[in-house]
Amino acid sequence: MIVADRKPLEEILEMIKDANKILLVGCKGCVTVCNVGGTKEVGILASSLKIARKKEGRPLEVDEKTLERQCDPEYVEQIRKSVDQYDAVISMACGVGPQFLSEAYPQQRFLPAVNTTFFGGAVQHGVWSERCAGCGTCVIHFFDGMCPIARCSKSLLHGPCGGSSGGKCEISKEVDCVWDMIVRKKMEQGRLADLATLKPAKDWRTARDGGPRKSVREELVQ
């Protein structure tokens, strides 16, 4: 899912420094799954902001709400009656949330509480790791189920580079060298010949490089 990290409190407080009454909107989607923007985290952020503002002697009124998702108009609608009463609204959803809210309620100010980072999954409880770069042309079937575009720091299609060491990427021992894994798997499975062919240069048009993207299901559009 989409993974995000909460912005530093200092930054969030700076965003709301002129506000006295705010709404904190969480999301039950991806940000709940990665424990950064669900109901619980909304409560924690609300309390943290109130403590900080009390300390300043400028109390902050915070209402809390968690929507099913912030990327669907039907759920975004749910705050229509109350949204105008706030000086600002903080969204704890991924980058999509505050933007959808802004479009639905152009007269209100929507602020992002999190920094959205990558598409990934949980590798252990509490740890999420990047797996997909959204390049628009999935090629993991050529690489035994691993993606070199997202997981190789240089997005090589003919790796590993000379910096791969101990199965780790040259940029950090925390990062696995996906090419080391791909090569070893191919060797184990007797498919090394797959890597002997020249892959053509990637067509980045389907990635963000080609401009902002849209996806349409003709059969559903009314």
Binding site: K154, H158, G162, S165, I171, S172, L195, A196, L198
Partner: protein, 311 residues
């Protein structure tokens, strides 16, 4: 390999069957042309061609194409290096045409160290294509006379294509295959990472020869003299893909205080002598960064002077 692909000095030397000897020169961290010319002067006549690095270790320096053209003006043949980190395919093809127009004939296609290492880690990552695709691209431009999109080039660049190989990187068993892929993509010559583990390199070359790769591509063995015990230890521990055996470190230590550099040079000279006789090795790539003033004397002791003149 009948007709010359580029007509470069390096190509002619290798084609004539001489043992090639190339050097390396890093451009200045500024527009200090005076210092650059000094370094080039030390290498003139001592080597067949000189590698010009491209923002090496992701540290910003004068561009390799500019330093290469300055080198040409000084009468020394450059091996223009291009990494995949900083340029997309448009800029790459454009620069290849540009350097060729300025007289550059040799080019090395490299991945490049990730910008996280360098002095501008905040920069956007390019890596539009990888080093093997770059090799294939230069070959396409030269042999088909076409851009990557198959449009015809108005006077194609006739470049002698080089690449790097690291016999010691991991997975070790795969390195020969990656080398084979670079050669299949179009590499005319290869320079290896600097070698200290001679046993392991001999094993690597044996596999290279078994696969007949040395007949399709000229392989130059990388040599960098150790300047100190500290340098050896640093390279052994901190540089990924570097194999520095304990015996080498011990040898440098055993030389005594202040004598490590001379011992390092002795070792390098022994290596060069062995490479001259090693099957499959067509030459040596000598990297003595910031030690350019000592290359001539080392070359002399290694018996690689004078450099051959081939028409």
């Amino acid at each position: 390999m009948n007709d010359l692909k580029s007509g470069s000095n390096l190509e002619k030397v290798l084609k004539a069957g001489h043992f090639a000897f190339t050097g390396e020169c890093g451009p200045p961290k500024g527009a200090n042309v005076v210092h650059l010319k000094e370094k080039i002067a030390h290498l003139k006549g001592v080597v067949d061609a000189v590698n010009v690095t491209d923002n090496q270790t992701a540290v910003v320096r004068m561009s390799s194409w500019a330093a290469s053209t300055i080198m040409l003006h000084e009468g020394v043949e450059p091996n223009f290096q291009m990494v995949c980190r900083d340029r997309n395919r448009l800029a790459m093809m454009s620069d290849i045409l540009g350097v060729y127009a300025m007289g550059v004939r040799n080019m090395l296609c490299l991945s490049g160290d990730h910008q996280r290492f360098g002095n501008h880690p905040e920069a956007k990552n390019v890596y539009d294509i990888d080093s093997i695709q770059l090799i294939a691209l230069v070959k396409k431009m030269r042999d088909e006379g076409k851009f990557l999109n198959d449009e015809v080039i108005d006077v194609p660049p006739r470049i002698f294509i080089g690449a790097a190989a690291n016999p010691f990187a991991e997975p070790f068993e795969f390195r020969v295959h990656r080398l084979a892929l670079k050669i299949a993509a179009g590499a005319d010559f290869i320079q290896t990472q600097c070698i200290y583990n001679m046993d392991r390199f001999r094993a690597f070359m044996k596999r290279v020869v078994d696969l007949g790769l040395h007949e399709k591509c000229y392989i130059l063995a990388g040599v960098t003299p150790m300047k100190s015990v500290g340098m050896a230890q640093y390279m052994a521990k901190q540089v990924p893909g570097m194999d520095v055996p304990d015996s080498v470190i011990a040898r440098l230590k055993g030389a005594g205080k202040g004598k490590a550099a001379e011992e390092g040079i002795k070792f390098a000279i022994e290596q060069i002598h062995e490479f001259k006789e090693m099957e499959g090795v067509a030459g040596v790539h000598f990297m003595a960064i910031e030690w350019e003033h000592r290359v001539a004397e080392i070359a002399k002791q290694a018996g690689v002077l004078p450099r051959p003149k081939v028409d």
